[in-house]
Symmetry: C2
Subunit: 695 residues, 2 copies
């Protein structure tokens, strides 16, 4: 009998997800404190139950072993920070990884977390108390953090099922009435309010520390400067829509909301809206700035030395006022009317706006930017063909060299690949630090090779290569996994199942009301069947000559998810990681399309792969593939050869083309049963024919 349940387990969420780290998140939802009581599962656990990773249980800190080469000793820096905390009478200080725009990737002078802890991952929070220091990060960075943190650090594997989160930890570490400090510019408004509410439960007070304490000690300890490269125009032939038209659309939404002002603090939103790009942050072509939009004015706050005449001309036909970056804060204090404060903006922004004016909403620019227009779609596809040419030609070259016994390392491969990409038209550098991981390094999900860790590429294990390029017409992000020798059966089995999951998700067809998170299980199912999984999200949105991670698409095991829309671009990237042995990840960028189906009773969405790079036949156990998966793979390889092969020939890259021809050979997949039946039939018939011959 079909069901209609009133949902029994309703959650009254008055806070919000505090840390949302993909698959591995253990988000802190909490209920209003009713008479001081919380649900059993939410009551802080006792100190003894905490599975903290202290010195004694940090595997690499048990004494005897040599420090990992990437480890940084931050003892002195933490001591200096504690001096400053003492002056400010703080019992704890929180150092997040983001900058004041809540960027995932930050400029060198904003790498405060790395400075204080040594941890270089793109996501994490350090909390320093007068006696302890803890780093919280998610599954992608567990191995990396273990290597990079000195042994004074506690590593909190946030997001593993029973690990406490930082607030519980603080609640149990500090005495009631202690002051916990943080820089209000570096923490989102929603997060700040939630943290503040929850810490009250433990009797702790969150304190806004206006001058960043890390900056105070770092300024005399070699803190780098921000870059001063000029801002440049992202031409209409790439952007497809003028900044005036985009601003007009934003204003129409503002009218619909009946609001007077929109504040933009996210750098990719500002760059997209104004059709401008910059070099302020590595890999992300953005510039540090704030924007306020009213119905008849647009204020851009930016380092004005970066503005040249061409940008002033770009703005000539509209009412744009350019002011110095730091004037933003004074301006905020003067605003009136109803002001949309994007949920992702900092608490500093939030607290500067008068209470009556605050209207917290997701920025409308997020969804506008995610849905690429016709020109952007053409550009993204074109960028992916160029990117595939660079990657295939490079892989072909390196494969030949390695076969000849020439020395290659993770770093030299990474550098050479960047050089190949740079040769393509409109190339603007890499879209993130290449993850080039051989053998055990490949199991470090966000591994970035360094001089200390650089491994030789040999035929002895698997090589994972996750890289991407920025082009004027698009951004790419692709992962392939290669073996130059004889893969083990486990490598073949896991690679094949990762590929099966990749294909099952890539071929999904579903009604438009299905939210992105709901398709996640399709990618994991083949691994689940043999008891395996991967500790990161299955896919993320990607920008157009912008960030390699872009909202809203986020395919993962947790959370409600958000709708897909035609023209969204995102990654499909299941993987498998055998700790200390090898890593596998297979990543393509997909575009959401509307799909005609046999009966078409309702509008359906599907995906179209935009990344066109072959998979590795040597690592595929064709017996495991079903017919649909095998057919998809052959069809994909045929398309790769047609499209990328053609461009390789156009660019006169013959070796690359020959390599591609080999790699895209059609596979024959058939179940062992079928083969047996065929062989049996053959034998029986031969036997009959023999009998015939005899008599």
């Amino acid at each position: 009998m079909t069901s209609r349940h009133t949902s029994f387990l309703l959650l009254i969420v008055v806070g919000v997800t505090i840390y949302d780290d993909g698959v591995t998140a253990n988000p802190v939802h909490f209920k209003p404190l009713q008479n001081g009581r919380m649900l059993a599962t939410e009551v802080p656990r006792s100190k003894t139950a905490l599975p903290m990773l202290t010195k004694s249980n940090r595997p690499s800190c048990n004494g005897g072993q040599k420090d990992p080469p990437s480890r940084v000793d931050t003892t002195q820096r933490v001591a200096n920070l504690r001096e400053q905390m003492k002056k400010a009478t703080l019992a704890a200080y929180i150092i997040p990884s983001g900058d004041e725009h809540q960027s995932e990737q930050v400029a060198a002078p904003d790498e405060r977390l790395k400075y204080i802890s040594g941890f270089s991952g793109s996501a994490g929070r350090a909390i320093v108390t007068m006696t302890q220091q803890a780093l919280f990060t998610d599954g992608r960075y567990f191995l990396q953090a273990e290597d990079e943190l000195d042994c004074n650090w506690i590593l909190m594997k946030d997001g593993e099922a029973f690990d406490p989160n930082e607030l519980e930890w603080l609640g149990m570490t500090l005495l009631p009435r202690s002051r916990v400090g943080a820089d209000p510019k570096l923490i989102g408004a929603e997060t700040w309010l939630t943290v503040s509410n929850l810490l009250q439960y433990y009797g702790l007070e969150v304190v806004e520390v206006e001058e960043n304490l890390v900056d105070l000690i770092w300024k005399t300890d070699g803190r780098p400067d921000y870059v001063s490269d000029p801002i440049f125009i992202h031409e209409l032939k790439y952007a497809g829509k003028s900044w005036q038209d985009k601003v007009e659309e934003v204003r129409n939404i503002m009218k619909q909301y009946k609001v007077d002002m929109l504040i933009l603090t996210a750098l990719d939103e500002i760059a997209w809206l104004l059709n401008l790009r910059g070099n302020d942050i590595p890999y992300n072509p953005v510039f540090r700035s704030y924007v306020t939009v009213t119905l008849n004015e647009l204020n851009l706050f930016v380092s004005t030395t970066k503005i040249r005449n061409n940008v002033r001309e770009h703005f000539a036909a509209g009412s744009v006022k350019i002011s110095e970056y730091n004037n933003f804060w004074a301006h905020l204090a003067t605003v009136t009317g109803i002001v949309v404060i994007p949920e992702a903006s900092s608490y500093a922004v939030y607290s500067k706006i008068k209470t009556a004016s605050r209207f917290i909403e997701p920025s409308p620019v997020i969804l506008m930017k995610a849905q690429k227009n016709e020109v952007e779609i053409k550009g993204m596809k074109n960028a992916h063909v160029k990117d595939a040419v660079a990657l295939c030609d490079f892989l072909s070259f390196m494969e030949t060299e390695i076969a000849l016994g020439k020395p290659w390392t993770e770093l030299s491969a990474s550098r050479e690949l960047s050089r190949y990409r740079a040769m393509q038209e409109g190339a603007m550098g890499d879209s993130f630090a290449t993850i080039s991981g051989f053998g055990p390094n490949g199991a470090v999900i966000h591994y970035e090779p360094s001089l200390e860790t650089d491994a030789n590429l040999t035929s002895s294990s698997i090589y994972l290569l996750d890289s991407g390029g920025q082009y004027l017409d698009g951004t790419t992000d692709v992962t392939r996994t290669i073996h130059y020798g004889e893969p083990t059966p486990l490598m073949i089995e896991t690679y094949t199942r990762v590929l099966m999951g990749h294909i099952d998700l890539a071929t999904a067809v579903f009604p438009k009301e299905i939210l992105d998170s709901r398709v996640d299980i399709l990618a994991r199912k083949p691994l689940y069947e043999i008891g395996l999984d991967y500790n990161h999200g299955t896919g993320h949105g990607i920008g157009m000559f912008l960030g390699v991670h872009e909202a809203p698409t986020n395919i993962r095991t947790k959370g409600t998810g958000s709708p897909f829309q035609p023209g969204y671009f995102f990654s499909v990237e299941p993987g498998y990681y055998q700790d200390h042995e090898f890593g596998i990840r297979l990543e393509n960028i997909m575009m959401v399309i509307e799909k005609d189906t046999k009966y078409s009773t309702k509008p359906m969405f599907a995906f179209e792969p935009v990344t066109l790079v072959p998979f590795e036949a040597k690592l595929i156990d064709t017996i495991l593939l079903n017919k649909m998966q095998c057919d998809w793979l052959n069809g994909y390889h045929e398309k790769v050869l047609n499209v990328v092969g053609k461009e390789l020939l156009t660019q006169n890259r013959k070796e690359g083309y020959n390599w591609l021809e080999t790699k895209t050979k059609q596979l024959h997949c058939s179940a062992p049963g079928t083969l047996t039946i065929s062989l049996l039939l053959l034998l029986v018939t031969l036997y009959i024919s023999t009998i015939h011959q005899r008599y």
Copy 2:
């Protein structure tokens, strides 16, 4: 590059899901009204945009046609209700389908929605204003409501993507400052508060009407009485755990929560906790009652005439106080300390508790009851074998009769099946009104045949049979779809894809952190691929000699979902409905089990089918099945024959056994390509052998 997104589109939910009707729900989440502004998508749509189904667009009300046989004319009743509304100065009155225990299935005197509207489905709300009358229901009931409502009714297809919900409709229908009345006993506390808040946005006031207005007019219009059957004991050999032990566990949870009292209002929770059953509500062996539990006392409020000595003895060994049903309300007014009010209890209960005492939580009994103990598991499996014997023997008998041209109808089949079930040991009646739908009636998802609609079962179309039994040792719920003639290609294609989805979900293996809703897509994917879907949930929890729908399991396209636990029982029931032609649904009950996998890196859950009834080979296109699906089907049929066949023989039901042997014949599935290759090989070999012979 793998991602870690801070979630951008955070929803601050201060309200909760108001109506949550499985797959088709369009839940009303809303944000705090900030300066009187709401998000664009949440602003009420203009009147002209409302796709209401008024007389002119109710397909069966366009004039000319004869009224459907199941239509009820409620003109006079609604007029009488409006008289009462006038006296109470109400502009609108809300009539939900539940009773004061928020039961899905209600006793005859509680069928207020059916009395006032004619609509007999298990889920819906009527709203009557002085000039309009609207019924809101979900996808399972669209066709049924269209037939049953007279043409004065507006049918609101709640849950379809762009349909407004009842609150929006009210907001646009009534003048500001209008009073909207409802019975506070019939609406859940959370729902009442949310509705009340949102209606405030439209300037409307929600009024508690203590005396139910429908009862006022119905009492002189043939309202039936409640039944007075005695309450009986559910013996320990079935329940597996004494009521004392269960209450002890509840008290331990209360101590953990630090609360003083727990109120139970859900009838299945009370029956389960006390190991008692009753006959108050059709199909559900429960009795109308309330319970309050403190750390040293248990109060049972129930019609004391239903309590016999055996029940008093059952309670002799513990401190249980039995009071009259209606004394519950007076008792509530006296309670002190912290009181857990289950989220699903009525607003009347909530409002009787002093503010300082209120602690709204899901009832802890929900999860205790869902996770069946060893004895209950054994009972459930045993009940399903008996149920399969009854169903298979009946299907075998009817198939023979129909082949002989004997007349069968939906109703006679339904009655005969009940008779077959009643012959099984421990049988206690059907677990819900059998859905016996031939041809077009099968497309009415929750169709129940009546004298007016009863169709002949012939070889001309598909027959859908969804039924279940209550047994002392378990509850069953099974759907099979049959064709006694030549199915059309569309029937075969859709049946096969429904079966593929069923198998894909039945064989899912996943880590324990994956919530139930996340597996929904596995069942729908094969239909999605050809543009089809079904308008109801994929699965629901089921009780043990209790409700056929039981929280928390609810597998559907919307909502966050809840965790599985080993020992949970639930249905897997994808379907396909071709409106006005036929319906297909394939439903098995599954048990959640812990699963050993090849590598077992983490604890995995999987499902075990408990329902053991064959599928219909005639309706399966084996070419569409992949090897895994074909193997599963053959393995399942083998188990069905072994287990159910054995019991059929034990019960000396030879015809049933023979039928089962035929129906469980192993299928050979192979892709057309394989067959072609095999045949080609055969031909080639034969040809070679011929050549050999020639020369």
